[in-house]
Protein backbone atom coordinates (compact mmCIF):
# COMPACT_ATOMS: atom_id res chain seq x y z
CA UNK A 1 0.00 0.00 0.00
CA UNK A 2 1.49 3.38 -0.97
CA UNK A 3 1.73 6.52 1.11
CA UNK A 4 -0.83 8.11 -1.17
CA UNK A 5 -3.33 5.32 -0.45
CA UNK A 6 -2.76 5.84 3.28
CA UNK A 7 -3.32 9.56 2.92
CA UNK A 8 -6.53 8.99 0.97
CA UNK A 9 -7.72 6.51 3.59
CA UNK A 10 -7.09 9.03 6.37
CA UNK A 11 -8.89 11.79 4.51
CA UNK A 12 -11.93 9.58 4.00
CA UNK A 13 -11.84 8.49 7.64
CA UNK A 14 -11.60 12.12 8.83
CA UNK A 15 -14.50 13.05 6.62
CA UNK A 16 -16.65 10.19 7.93
CA UNK A 17 -15.71 11.07 11.53
CA UNK A 18 -16.58 14.73 11.05
CA UNK A 19 -19.99 13.70 9.66
CA UNK A 20 -20.61 11.46 12.65
CA UNK A 21 -20.41 8.22 10.59
CA UNK A 22 -18.31 6.49 13.20
CA UNK A 23 -18.63 2.86 11.96
CA UNK A 24 -17.33 3.78 8.53
CA UNK A 25 -14.59 5.93 10.03
CA UNK A 26 -13.53 3.12 12.38
CA UNK A 27 -13.06 0.67 9.51
CA UNK A 28 -10.94 3.17 7.61
CA UNK A 29 -8.79 4.01 10.64
CA UNK A 30 -8.33 0.31 11.36
CA UNK A 31 -7.09 -0.21 7.78
CA UNK A 32 -4.77 2.77 8.12
CA UNK A 33 -3.33 1.26 11.31
CA UNK A 34 -2.72 -2.02 9.45
CA UNK A 35 -0.67 -0.07 6.91
CA UNK A 36 1.29 1.57 9.74
CA UNK A 37 1.87 -1.71 11.60
CA UNK A 38 5.67 -1.64 11.16
CA UNK A 39 6.11 2.00 12.16
CA UNK A 40 8.00 2.90 15.34
CA UNK A 41 5.81 3.91 18.30
CA UNK A 42 7.12 7.48 18.09
CA UNK A 43 5.98 7.93 14.48
CA UNK A 44 3.69 10.98 14.51
CA UNK A 45 1.47 9.69 11.69
CA UNK A 46 0.86 6.49 13.67
CA UNK A 47 0.15 8.50 16.85
CA UNK A 48 -2.26 10.80 15.03
CA UNK A 49 -4.17 7.88 13.47
CA UNK A 50 -4.37 6.19 16.89
CA UNK A 51 -5.67 9.45 18.37
CA UNK A 52 -8.29 9.91 15.66
CA UNK A 53 -9.42 6.31 15.89
CA UNK A 54 -9.83 6.77 19.63
CA UNK A 55 -12.20 9.68 18.97
CA UNK A 56 -14.25 7.43 16.71
CA UNK A 57 -14.29 4.59 19.25
CA UNK A 58 -15.43 7.15 21.80
CA UNK A 59 -18.32 8.05 19.51
CA UNK A 60 -19.17 4.35 19.24
CA UNK A 61 -19.11 3.94 23.01
CA UNK A 62 -16.11 1.56 22.87
CA UNK A 63 -14.22 3.44 25.55
CA UNK A 64 -11.82 0.70 26.67
CA UNK A 65 -10.56 0.24 23.10
CA UNK A 66 -10.28 4.01 22.76
CA UNK A 67 -8.26 4.12 25.97
CA UNK A 68 -5.83 1.57 24.52
CA UNK A 69 -5.31 3.67 21.38
CA UNK A 70 -4.83 6.84 23.42
CA UNK A 71 -2.32 5.19 25.74
CA UNK A 72 -0.23 4.10 22.73
CA UNK A 73 -0.46 7.57 21.17
CA UNK A 74 0.44 9.21 24.48
CA UNK A 75 3.51 7.01 24.96
CA UNK A 76 4.71 7.75 21.44
CA UNK A 77 4.11 11.47 21.68
CA UNK A 78 5.70 11.84 25.11
CA UNK A 79 8.84 10.18 23.77
CA UNK A 80 8.92 11.99 20.44
CA UNK A 81 7.54 15.44 21.29
CA UNK A 82 7.79 15.78 25.07
CA UNK A 83 5.17 16.19 27.79
CA UNK A 84 4.56 19.86 27.06
CA UNK A 85 3.78 19.46 23.35
CA UNK A 86 0.26 20.39 22.31
CA UNK A 87 -0.30 16.96 20.75
CA UNK A 88 0.74 15.20 23.97
CA UNK A 89 -1.49 17.38 26.15
CA UNK A 90 -4.43 16.88 23.79
CA UNK A 91 -3.96 13.11 23.94
CA UNK A 92 -3.77 13.22 27.74
CA UNK A 93 -7.03 15.18 27.93
CA UNK A 94 -8.85 12.70 25.68
CA UNK A 95 -7.41 9.81 27.71
CA UNK A 96 -8.88 11.36 30.85
CA UNK A 97 -12.29 11.43 29.18
CA UNK A 98 -12.05 7.83 27.95
CA UNK A 99 -11.14 6.69 31.47
CA UNK A 100 -13.93 8.77 32.98
CA UNK A 101 -16.45 7.18 30.64
CA UNK A 102 -15.50 3.86 32.24
CA UNK A 103 -16.30 5.24 35.69
CA UNK A 104 -12.70 5.56 36.93
CA UNK A 105 -13.24 9.12 38.11
CA UNK A 106 -10.25 9.51 40.44
CA UNK A 107 -7.85 8.54 37.66
CA UNK A 108 -9.74 10.63 35.11
CA UNK A 109 -9.69 13.70 37.36
CA UNK A 110 -5.94 13.40 37.97
CA UNK A 111 -5.16 13.06 34.25
CA UNK A 112 -7.48 15.91 33.24
CA UNK A 113 -5.96 18.19 35.86
CA UNK A 114 -2.47 17.30 34.70
CA UNK A 115 -3.47 18.11 31.11
CA UNK A 116 -4.89 21.47 32.21
CA UNK A 117 -1.76 22.23 34.24
CA UNK A 118 0.53 21.32 31.36
CA UNK A 119 -1.62 23.34 28.96
CA UNK A 120 -1.24 26.41 31.11
CA UNK A 121 2.49 25.86 31.63
CA UNK A 122 3.36 25.10 28.01
CA UNK A 123 0.84 26.67 25.66
CA UNK A 124 -0.24 30.22 24.86
CA UNK A 125 -3.44 31.68 26.27
CA UNK A 126 -5.28 31.35 22.95
CA UNK A 127 -4.09 27.82 22.14
CA UNK A 128 -7.01 25.56 21.39
CA UNK A 129 -5.46 22.58 23.19
CA UNK A 130 -5.19 24.61 26.41
CA UNK A 131 -8.95 25.23 26.17
CA UNK A 132 -9.55 21.55 25.36
CA UNK A 133 -7.66 20.46 28.47
CA UNK A 134 -9.79 22.70 30.68
CA UNK A 135 -12.84 21.34 28.93
CA UNK A 136 -11.81 17.79 29.83
CA UNK A 137 -11.47 18.76 33.50
CA UNK A 138 -14.92 20.34 33.44
CA UNK A 139 -16.38 17.28 31.76
CA UNK A 140 -14.97 15.10 34.54
CA UNK A 141 -16.38 17.45 37.22
CA UNK A 142 -19.86 17.50 35.66
CA UNK A 143 -20.00 13.83 34.71
CA UNK A 144 -18.82 12.61 38.10
CA UNK A 145 -21.58 14.64 39.74
CA UNK A 146 -19.37 17.10 41.57
CA UNK A 147 -20.91 19.32 44.22
CA UNK A 148 -19.99 22.53 42.42
CA UNK A 149 -20.50 21.14 38.91
CA UNK A 150 -22.92 23.87 37.82
CA UNK A 151 -20.56 26.65 38.96
CA UNK A 152 -17.64 24.95 37.20
CA UNK A 153 -19.70 24.60 34.01
CA UNK A 154 -20.76 28.26 34.13
CA UNK A 155 -17.14 29.33 34.59
CA UNK A 156 -16.16 27.10 31.66
CA UNK A 157 -18.72 28.70 29.36
CA UNK A 158 -17.34 32.13 30.30
CA UNK A 159 -13.69 31.10 29.96
CA UNK A 160 -14.04 29.24 26.66
CA UNK A 161 -16.48 31.64 24.99
CA UNK A 162 -14.16 32.50 22.09
CA UNK A 163 -12.79 29.01 21.54
CA UNK A 164 -14.00 26.09 19.41
CA UNK A 165 -15.18 24.50 22.69
CA UNK A 166 -17.86 27.14 23.29
CA UNK A 167 -20.64 24.82 22.04
CA UNK A 168 -19.42 21.83 24.05
CA UNK A 169 -19.14 24.02 27.16
CA UNK A 170 -22.80 25.02 26.79
CA UNK A 171 -23.79 21.36 26.37
CA UNK A 172 -22.07 20.59 29.65
CA UNK A 173 -23.74 23.53 31.35
CA UNK A 174 -27.14 22.25 30.22
CA UNK A 175 -26.36 18.85 31.78
CA UNK A 176 -25.00 20.34 34.99
CA UNK A 177 -28.00 22.63 35.42
CA UNK A 178 -30.49 19.87 34.65
CA UNK A 179 -28.85 17.44 37.04
CA UNK A 180 -28.94 20.05 39.81
CA UNK A 181 -32.62 20.73 39.14
CA UNK A 182 -32.19 24.19 37.57
CA UNK A 183 -34.50 23.40 34.66
CA UNK A 184 -35.43 26.93 33.65
CA UNK A 185 -31.85 28.04 33.11
CA UNK A 186 -30.98 24.67 31.53
CA UNK A 187 -33.74 25.13 28.96
CA UNK A 188 -32.66 28.68 28.18
CA UNK A 189 -29.02 27.63 27.67
CA UNK A 190 -30.03 24.61 25.55
CA UNK A 191 -32.24 26.73 23.29
CA UNK A 192 -29.42 29.25 22.89
CA UNK A 193 -26.89 26.53 22.17
CA UNK A 194 -28.90 24.55 19.62
CA UNK A 195 -28.69 27.02 16.70
CA UNK A 196 -24.96 27.43 17.39
CA UNK A 197 -24.46 23.65 17.35
CA UNK A 198 -26.49 23.28 14.14
CA UNK A 199 -24.46 25.99 12.45
CA UNK A 200 -21.19 24.52 13.68
CA UNK A 201 -21.76 20.78 13.16
CA UNK A 202 -24.97 20.44 11.16
CA UNK A 203 -28.47 19.44 12.30
CA UNK A 204 -27.88 15.67 12.08
CA UNK A 205 -24.53 15.47 13.86
CA UNK A 206 -24.63 13.26 17.00
CA UNK A 207 -23.56 16.15 19.26
CA UNK A 208 -26.40 18.33 17.98
CA UNK A 209 -28.90 15.51 18.34
CA UNK A 210 -27.74 14.64 21.85
CA UNK A 211 -28.18 18.29 22.81
CA UNK A 212 -31.79 17.96 21.60
CA UNK A 213 -32.04 14.89 23.82
CA UNK A 214 -30.73 16.97 26.74
CA UNK A 215 -33.33 19.63 26.01
CA UNK A 216 -36.02 16.93 26.01
CA UNK A 217 -34.82 15.64 29.40
CA UNK A 218 -34.79 19.19 30.73
CA UNK A 219 -38.40 19.74 29.66
CA UNK A 220 -39.29 16.39 31.19
CA UNK A 221 -37.63 17.39 34.44
CA UNK A 222 -39.51 20.69 34.38
CA UNK A 223 -42.78 18.78 34.23
CA UNK A 224 -43.59 19.36 30.54
CA UNK A 225 -43.73 15.77 29.22
CA UNK A 226 -45.63 16.54 26.00
CA UNK A 227 -43.07 19.07 24.83
CA UNK A 228 -40.30 16.73 25.97
CA UNK A 229 -41.69 13.83 23.93
CA UNK A 230 -42.06 16.01 20.84
CA UNK A 231 -38.44 17.20 21.03
CA UNK A 232 -37.12 13.68 21.74
CA UNK A 233 -39.20 12.15 18.93
CA UNK A 234 -37.98 14.68 16.41
CA UNK A 235 -34.34 14.11 17.39
CA UNK A 236 -34.80 10.33 17.22
CA UNK A 237 -36.31 10.53 13.72
CA UNK A 238 -33.39 12.60 12.44
CA UNK A 239 -30.87 10.27 14.09
CA UNK A 240 -32.45 7.12 12.62
CA UNK A 241 -32.49 8.63 9.16
CA UNK A 242 -29.00 10.14 9.25
CA UNK A 243 -27.03 7.72 11.42
CA UNK A 244 -28.98 4.48 11.36
CA UNK A 245 -31.13 2.68 13.88
CA UNK A 246 -28.21 1.03 15.71
CA UNK A 247 -25.93 4.06 15.99
CA UNK A 248 -25.04 4.87 19.63
CA UNK A 249 -26.65 8.28 19.31
CA UNK A 250 -29.91 6.73 18.08
CA UNK A 251 -29.85 4.14 20.84
CA UNK A 252 -29.30 6.86 23.43
CA UNK A 253 -32.14 9.01 22.04
CA UNK A 254 -34.47 5.99 21.99
CA UNK A 255 -33.66 5.44 25.66
CA UNK A 256 -34.43 9.12 26.34
CA UNK A 257 -37.78 8.86 24.58
CA UNK A 258 -38.72 5.67 26.41
CA UNK A 259 -37.74 7.17 29.76
CA UNK A 260 -39.82 10.28 29.17
CA UNK A 261 -42.78 8.19 28.05
CA UNK A 262 -42.45 6.01 31.15
CA UNK A 263 -43.20 8.88 33.53
CA UNK A 264 -41.58 11.31 35.90
CA UNK A 265 -38.55 9.18 36.78
CA UNK A 266 -35.16 10.83 37.04
CA UNK A 267 -33.30 10.43 33.75
CA UNK A 268 -29.70 11.43 33.21
Amino acid sequence: MTGLALETMRERADDARNRGLFDEADELYASALDVLAGSPETDEVLCQVLYERALVLYGLGRFAEGEGCLRRALTGREKALGAGAAETIETLARLAEAIGEQGRWVEARALAHEAARLGRASLGIDHVVRAGALMASTWVAVSSGGRHADEVARATVAALEDTPYAGSARNLLVRALRESGQFEEAERVAREALPLREAELGPDHPHTLLLRGDLALTLHGAGRPDEALAVAGEALDVSERALGSQAPCTVRLRHVQEAIAAGPADVR
Binding site: V106, R109, I125, D126, A141, V152, A155, A158, A159
Partner: protein, 185 residues
Protein backbone atom coordinates in the same frame (compact mmCIF):
# COMPACT_ATOMS: atom_id res chain seq x y z
CA UNK B 1 -3.23 40.18 48.35
CA UNK B 2 -2.97 37.87 51.36
CA UNK B 3 -5.69 35.94 53.08
CA UNK B 4 -6.16 33.00 55.39
CA UNK B 5 -6.97 29.74 53.69
CA UNK B 6 -10.66 28.89 53.74
CA UNK B 7 -13.38 27.90 51.30
CA UNK B 8 -15.36 31.03 52.19
CA UNK B 9 -12.31 33.19 51.49
CA UNK B 10 -11.73 31.33 48.25
CA UNK B 11 -15.32 31.86 47.08
CA UNK B 12 -15.34 35.51 48.19
CA UNK B 13 -12.19 36.18 46.16
CA UNK B 14 -13.70 34.48 43.14
CA UNK B 15 -16.75 36.75 43.50
CA UNK B 16 -14.38 39.69 43.67
CA UNK B 17 -12.67 38.45 40.52
CA UNK B 18 -16.06 38.22 38.80
CA UNK B 19 -16.82 41.79 39.81
CA UNK B 20 -13.57 43.04 38.31
CA UNK B 21 -14.21 40.95 35.20
CA UNK B 22 -17.65 42.46 34.67
CA UNK B 23 -16.09 45.91 35.06
CA UNK B 24 -13.44 45.04 32.47
CA UNK B 25 -10.62 45.38 35.04
CA UNK B 26 -8.74 42.34 33.80
CA UNK B 27 -5.45 42.55 35.77
CA UNK B 28 -7.39 42.98 39.01
CA UNK B 29 -9.71 40.10 38.03
CA UNK B 30 -6.67 37.94 37.39
CA UNK B 31 -4.99 38.83 40.67
CA UNK B 32 -8.18 38.18 42.64
CA UNK B 33 -8.56 34.76 40.98
CA UNK B 34 -4.91 34.00 41.75
CA UNK B 35 -5.42 35.12 45.35
CA UNK B 36 -8.45 32.82 45.53
CA UNK B 37 -6.29 29.91 44.40
CA UNK B 38 -3.75 30.84 47.07
CA UNK B 39 -6.56 30.86 49.65
CA UNK B 40 -7.83 27.40 48.78
CA UNK B 41 -7.24 25.14 51.81
CA UNK B 42 -4.78 22.33 51.21
CA UNK B 43 -4.67 21.02 54.79
CA UNK B 44 -6.89 18.02 54.17
CA UNK B 45 -10.05 19.75 55.42
CA UNK B 46 -11.60 19.19 51.97
CA UNK B 47 -12.04 15.87 50.26
CA UNK B 48 -9.71 15.36 47.31
CA UNK B 49 -12.68 15.52 44.97
CA UNK B 50 -13.96 18.81 46.35
CA UNK B 51 -10.48 20.32 46.46
CA UNK B 52 -9.90 19.43 42.81
CA UNK B 53 -13.28 20.80 41.82
CA UNK B 54 -12.69 24.15 43.55
CA UNK B 55 -9.17 24.27 42.14
CA UNK B 56 -10.64 23.84 38.66
CA UNK B 57 -13.17 26.59 39.38
CA UNK B 58 -10.32 28.92 40.33
CA UNK B 59 -8.32 27.93 37.25
CA UNK B 60 -11.28 28.70 35.01
CA UNK B 61 -11.86 32.13 36.56
CA UNK B 62 -8.17 32.91 36.23
CA UNK B 63 -8.19 31.66 32.64
CA UNK B 64 -11.14 33.90 31.86
CA UNK B 65 -9.35 36.91 33.34
CA UNK B 66 -6.16 36.00 31.45
CA UNK B 67 -8.07 35.79 28.18
CA UNK B 68 -9.74 39.16 28.78
CA UNK B 69 -6.44 40.73 29.78
CA UNK B 70 -4.73 39.27 26.75
CA UNK B 71 -7.55 40.54 24.51
CA UNK B 72 -7.33 44.05 25.95
CA UNK B 73 -3.56 44.15 25.50
CA UNK B 74 -3.85 42.80 21.98
CA UNK B 75 -6.47 45.38 21.06
CA UNK B 76 -4.41 48.13 22.66
CA UNK B 77 -1.36 46.89 20.80
CA UNK B 78 -3.01 47.30 17.39
CA UNK B 79 -3.41 43.63 16.70
CA UNK B 80 -0.05 42.44 17.99
CA UNK B 81 -0.40 38.91 19.27
CA UNK B 82 3.06 38.54 20.83
CA UNK B 83 2.39 40.82 23.77
CA UNK B 84 1.71 38.74 26.80
CA UNK B 85 0.08 35.66 28.16
CA UNK B 86 -1.14 37.17 31.41
CA UNK B 87 -0.27 35.06 34.36
CA UNK B 88 2.11 32.91 32.41
CA UNK B 89 4.04 35.76 30.90
CA UNK B 90 6.34 34.08 28.43
CA UNK B 91 6.72 37.54 26.88
CA UNK B 92 6.42 40.71 28.92
CA UNK B 93 4.27 43.47 27.46
CA UNK B 94 6.40 46.34 26.19
CA UNK B 95 6.17 48.99 23.52
CA UNK B 96 7.09 47.99 20.02
CA UNK B 97 10.80 48.45 19.25
CA UNK B 98 10.98 51.46 16.90
CA UNK B 99 14.10 50.00 15.22
CA UNK B 100 14.03 46.20 15.12
CA UNK B 101 17.51 46.03 13.50
CA UNK B 102 19.10 48.09 16.28
CA UNK B 103 20.24 45.07 18.29
CA UNK B 104 21.61 43.39 15.19
CA UNK B 105 23.60 46.51 14.25
CA UNK B 106 24.99 46.89 17.76
CA UNK B 107 26.11 43.27 17.71
CA UNK B 108 27.77 43.70 14.30
CA UNK B 109 29.64 46.82 15.48
CA UNK B 110 30.84 44.99 18.62
CA UNK B 111 32.15 42.02 16.62
CA UNK B 112 33.83 44.29 14.02
CA UNK B 113 35.49 46.31 16.80
CA UNK B 114 36.75 43.10 18.39
CA UNK B 115 38.23 41.92 15.08
CA UNK B 116 39.94 45.31 14.44
CA UNK B 117 41.47 45.43 17.93
CA UNK B 118 42.67 41.83 17.61
CA UNK B 119 44.25 42.42 14.18
CA UNK B 120 45.91 45.68 15.36
CA UNK B 121 47.32 44.00 18.45
CA UNK B 122 48.61 41.12 16.32
CA UNK B 123 50.35 43.58 13.95
CA UNK B 124 51.94 45.46 16.85
CA UNK B 125 53.20 42.19 18.28
CA UNK B 126 54.52 41.12 14.87
CA UNK B 127 56.48 44.39 14.57
CA UNK B 128 57.91 43.89 18.06
CA UNK B 129 58.92 40.30 17.31
CA UNK B 130 60.49 41.20 13.94
CA UNK B 131 62.36 44.13 15.51
CA UNK B 132 63.85 41.97 18.26
CA UNK B 133 67.28 40.30 18.07
CA UNK B 134 67.14 36.95 16.22
CA UNK B 135 67.88 34.90 19.36
CA UNK B 136 64.89 36.30 21.26
CA UNK B 137 62.31 36.15 18.48
CA UNK B 138 61.04 32.64 19.24
CA UNK B 139 60.57 33.37 22.93
CA UNK B 140 58.89 36.71 22.20
CA UNK B 141 56.60 35.08 19.58
CA UNK B 142 55.53 32.45 22.17
CA UNK B 143 54.73 35.09 24.77
CA UNK B 144 52.91 37.16 22.14
CA UNK B 145 50.76 34.23 20.97
CA UNK B 146 49.88 33.41 24.58
CA UNK B 147 48.91 36.99 25.36
CA UNK B 148 46.89 37.22 22.14
CA UNK B 149 45.00 34.02 23.05
CA UNK B 150 44.18 35.40 26.51
CA UNK B 151 43.11 38.69 24.94
CA UNK B 152 40.72 36.97 22.49
CA UNK B 153 39.31 34.73 25.26
CA UNK B 154 38.69 37.80 27.45
CA UNK B 155 36.83 39.50 24.61
CA UNK B 156 34.61 36.46 23.99
CA UNK B 157 33.90 36.20 27.71
CA UNK B 158 32.94 39.88 27.97
CA UNK B 159 30.64 39.57 24.94
CA UNK B 160 28.88 36.57 26.50
CA UNK B 161 28.57 38.39 29.84
CA UNK B 162 27.22 41.52 28.15
CA UNK B 163 24.58 39.47 26.32
CA UNK B 164 23.56 37.73 29.56
CA UNK B 165 23.22 41.02 31.43
CA UNK B 166 21.16 42.50 28.60
CA UNK B 167 18.80 39.54 28.73
CA UNK B 168 18.42 39.65 32.52
CA UNK B 169 17.52 43.33 32.59
CA UNK B 170 14.01 42.72 31.10
CA UNK B 171 11.15 43.60 33.45
CA UNK B 172 8.58 41.08 34.64
CA UNK B 173 5.46 41.75 36.72
CA UNK B 174 5.23 40.19 40.20
CA UNK B 175 2.09 38.35 39.08
CA UNK B 176 3.95 36.84 36.16
CA UNK B 177 6.85 35.86 38.38
CA UNK B 178 4.57 34.37 41.03
CA UNK B 179 2.85 32.21 38.45
CA UNK B 180 5.88 31.08 36.54
CA UNK B 181 7.95 30.34 39.61
CA UNK B 182 5.13 29.24 41.90
CA UNK B 183 3.80 25.82 42.59
CA UNK B 184 1.97 25.66 39.29
CA UNK B 185 -1.46 26.34 40.68
Amino acid sequence: MTTTRSVDGFLALLDLSDGYRVAGQWPEAFEAAQAALDALPSDGSLTAEEHDELLLLGWLKRENASAGWYGSLRDGGEGRTDLVDPGRGAVAAKPADPDPLRRFRLGAVAVATMCCVTVSTSLVMLVIVLGAPAGQRVTLAGWGAGLLGCFVAAQILSLWWWKRLARASGTESPVVRACTEGDGR
